[in-house]
Amino acid sequence: MAKVAITVNGAEPSNVFPPFILGSSAVASGDELTIFFCPGGAPAMVKGEIEKMEVKGLPNLLELYEGVQNLGGKVYVCELALEAKDLKKEDLRDGIEIIGATTFMNEIKDATITFSF
């Protein structure tokens, strides 16, 4: 099985849908998945934000997010986002962990598929 690493550095639907569409497909078929939100993408992981993202023709983002979480995908927000985007840990969705770049790079050192959005 593949080990998939995806970084997200924008909080628009065009940045946030692809990681969860591709990521949920990956975990659904047994791949390991790590999604890392850089500061530019972190505001999308504030509670209530993905519920607002509805795009004609695209699947329900919340269901994809929950699918990723339920099937063991990991979703991280970069610790730099807290100060950079004036966020508090408790502002972020349940199930999200805050980690630093070194931890992320160590975790994905043997990734076989990578994407950036």
Partner: protein
Amino acid sequence: METKTLDTLGLKCPQPILKVATLVPQMNPGDILEVLADCESFPKDIKAWAEKTGKTLLFCNTDADGKHTAQIQF
């Protein structure tokens, strides 16, 4: 052996596959899951999913209205 049905009509890629995956823990070896879908990419996606996860795709048929019916044996 048990046969379960999963209706994903109206759901878009990759939600039908995601719903199949979330049912995996409830399935026992030999059980059959019948999936109804009308998402365009479903026939190829369910074939890819079955190959990757080692399940047996018994068939995937498409009717005149574009509705797909697939059976997967666990």
